[in-house]
């Protein structure tokens, strides 16, 4: 390098973790971790989500649910996000965030309805501003930026949380959203759930970038990595980023490192492309067990509580599954009812035809 070379920009990417795989505290814990009720709340959310996922998979296997994407192994990330958000914040999920949705108040039966093939599953009133499931990868990240602009425009101290996967970071939509969030200083947190796989494509084949957090540098915004299997660090950093956003501090990218335990969806077979050894090694980092160990050691949890929780989760899931299974299908012609606010008259014939068809099929 010759003398005319000048360094015009420098960047660092940090990684954070509070609880190690064994549940041991890796350093000073954040204040909220001193409140065992808070930790128990996080733990309950994770256990409920895991219970739900297992049941949903079983429902699909028995033909009672459509294709389903479970969050097994990623419970800490989704619980941490949910417990960090305020009710007035806005969640913009992809399709694996039901663990967060439950914390937002969305009934489990609605999630089942949606994956069971009924649009009413996304009509939930408990989180009225939250976005629905978004299947086309990364497209929703732009919605998050737009929603964040609406909040900023109205001067509301609220923030938006966009959640997408490692694969989503390869798509232009993701980048364009970060870029505009940066230049407009939007109140938006972009959580990249890096579960190491995009169906069969490993993280290493998505990008040569050593971290996904550094995607933020291209947009001139903050980016950091956290242990996505440590619910305490996820909640802590998420709370900090949301607070910063609400206070006008702008956007943040948080890469949560975790692992997808199950097949991509029930339509996938992960044994085709990844080894049992890899899975086994990753499962040793179990986020649920990790918090239970810490909480137990800290005297905030015991077997009795564990059993009681297991029963309650099962009961809740049972009830929601019943509610789902007992929901009658809509009449065929209703597929026109939310096409426009008022259905243009020219489509009346088609709606009538469907009605007749439905009658005949009965």
């Amino acid at each position: 390098m010759t003398s005319e070379t000048e360094t015009v920009a420098s960047f660092d990417i940090h990684y954070r973790q509070y609880l190690g795989p064994g549940g041991e505290a890796a350093g000073g814990l954040p204040d909220f971790a001193g409140d065992h009720d808070v930790l128990r709340g996080l733990y309950r959310s994770m256990v409920l989500t895991r219970t739900f996922d297992k049941r949903a998979i079983a429902l699909q296997r028995t033909g009672q649910l459509g294709t389903y994407a479970s969050s097994l192994g990623q419970e800490a990330t989704y619980a941490g996000i949910g417990h960090a958000m305020l009710p007035e914040d806005i969640l913009v999920p992809s399709y694996r965030e039901h663990g967060t949705c439950f914390i937002r108040g969305v009934p489990m039966s609605d999630i089942l309805l949606y994956w069971g093939g009924d649009e009413r599953g996304m009509a939930f009133e408990e989180a009225p501003h939250d976005f629905p499931v978004s299947v086309p990868i990364a497209t929703h990240v732009l919605h998050a930026a737009g929603a964040a602009y609406a909040l900023q425009y109205r001067g509301e101290p609220r923030a938006v949380a966009a959640v997408s996967g490692d694969g989503s970071t390869s798509k232009g939509d993701f980048y364009e959203a970060l870029n505009v969030a940066g230049v407009w200083n939007l109140p938006c947190v972009f959580v990249v759930v890096n579960n190491q796989w995009a169906i069969s494509v490993p993280r290493s084949k998505q990008s040569r970038a050593g971290t996904l957090a550094q995607k933020a540098i291209a947009a001139g915004i903050d980016g950091e990595q956290v242990d996505g299997n440590d619910v305490i660090v996820v909640k802590d950093r998420m709370e900090a980023a949301l607070k910063k956003a609400r206070e006008g501090g702008g956007p943040t990218v948080i890469e949560a490192l975790t692992y997808r335990w199950h097949d991509h969806t029930t339509a996938d077979d992960a044994t085709r492309y990844r080894s049992a050894e890899e899975l086994e090694a990753e499962q040793k980092k179990d986020p649920v067990e990790r918090l239970r160990r810490y909480l137990t050691a800290a005297g905030g949890w015991d077997d009795e509580r564990e059993q009681e929780l297991a029963q309650r989760c099962k009961a809740e899931v049972d009830a929601e599954v019943d509610r789902y299974l007992n929901t009658e299908a809509r009449a065929p012609e209703t597929m026109f009812d939310h096409l426009y606010e008022t259905l243009p008259s020219i489509y009346g014939d088609q709606r009538e035809e469907l009605k007749a068809k439905g009658k005949r099929d009965e």
Binding site: P132, A144, G146, Y149, A150, L151, H338
Partner: protein
């Protein structure tokens, strides 16, 4: 017509706090066609937003804004650059209401100048309205006069559902018709009958409307053929009743559009005429359209566009058919 667009945008910005404009070069520069000139100055940078250069982003932002209560009116600089928005428009804008069973909606307008004939560079002469006319849940509106530009744009912005609003740039500066800023919207979902006639129905929209009207005049004068002239205006949903009613009377129909023929909107109109009006047709429904090839660069573009002569000749042939 460009002034009418500007007036309508200004009217809605003034009337509704939730209306925001976004696009490339629409702020200080007032848009490459000056559609938004003066609006940022008047309403502020938070109401009239210059975006980074990314159309997918412009559409995606609009969907997110609309779902949270704003009424974004986005400008795509030329229709040739609208294709990156297709995914957001078909996958989200047109489906958000249905997906959430009415919980979240998408009252947004995507404006774009379209069509050829202004000696512009490559990709600046597209007319692919048919692609959007095929998307359920969408409205596609195309004005062909200053008055309709004003009234239909007001309607589009006030509409609770997503609207693709295509502005025929070839006639942006054609008529200097004075329009009164009375805030009165025109109805969407209906055709406008611009001229009553007895012998044949001419159906068109956008810039071609003008060649169609000129041909109608010429036909009246030179050949004593009385043409009923219909401006479809709202391409989707398509108001066939007005067209069918007219063709039932005239028994003849010629459709004129600038877009490539195959799978253009003219095909849908002709198909419905054949389906519902077969018995009342005295002659085949003919289409005078752009060719099924790439819109050529400026040296040949005038040969690509449907001309008055072509329309005139096709109508004569249709009248002589027996």
């Amino acid at each position: 017509m460009i002034e009418a667009v500007n007036t309508a945008l200004a009217h809605e910005l003034g009337a509704d706090e939730s209306v925001v404009l976004l696009g490339e070069d629409i702020g200080v520069n007032g848009g490459v066609f000056r559609a938004t000139v003066g609006l940022q100055e008047r309403f502020g940078e938070h109401r009239v937003l210059d975006t980074p250069l990314a159309e997918t982003m412009i559409a995606g932002l609009s969907v997110g804004m609309a779902a949270q209560g704003l009424r974004p009116v986005a400008e795509i600089q030329f229709m040739g650059f609208i294709y990156p928005t297709v995914d957001q428009i078909i996958s989200h804008a047109s489906r958000m209401r249905n997906r959430t069973h009415g919980r979240l909606t998408c009252a947004m307008v995507l404006r774009a100048p379209f069509g050829g004939g202004i000696r512009a560079p490559e990709h600046h002469s597209e007319s692919t309205e048919a692609m959007f006319a095929h998307m359920p849940g969408l409205r596609v509106v195309i004005p062909s006069s200053p008055a309709r530009a004003y009234g239909l744009l007001l309607a589009a912005i006030r509409d609770p559902d997503p609207v693709v609003f295509l502005e025929p740039k070839r006639i942006y500066r054609m008529q200097k018709q004075e329009i009164e800023d009375n805030g009165e919207a025109l109805p969407l979902d209906v055709c406008f009958t611009l001229r009553n006639g007895a012998d044949i129905t001419l159906v068109s929209w956008g810039a071609s409307m003008h060649e169609t009207l000129q041909a109608a005049d010429k036909l009246q004068e030179d050949a004593d053929i009385s043409c009923e002239v219909i401006d479809v205006a709202t391409i989707k949903p398509l108001d066939m009743s007005t067209i069918l009613e007219s063709v039932e009377r005239t028994g003849r129909c010629v459709i004129v559009h600038e877009a490539a023929r195959t799978c253009g909107v003219g095909a849908e109109i002709a198909a419905q005429l054949a389906e519902k009006g077969l018995l009342t047709l005295f002659a085949p429904v003919r289409r005078v359209t752009g060719y099924d090839t790439i819109m050529p660069l400026l040296r040949l573009e005038k040969h690509y566009l449907p001309g008055v002569d072509q329309i005139y000749r096709t109508v004569k042939e249709t009248m002589e058919f027996a």
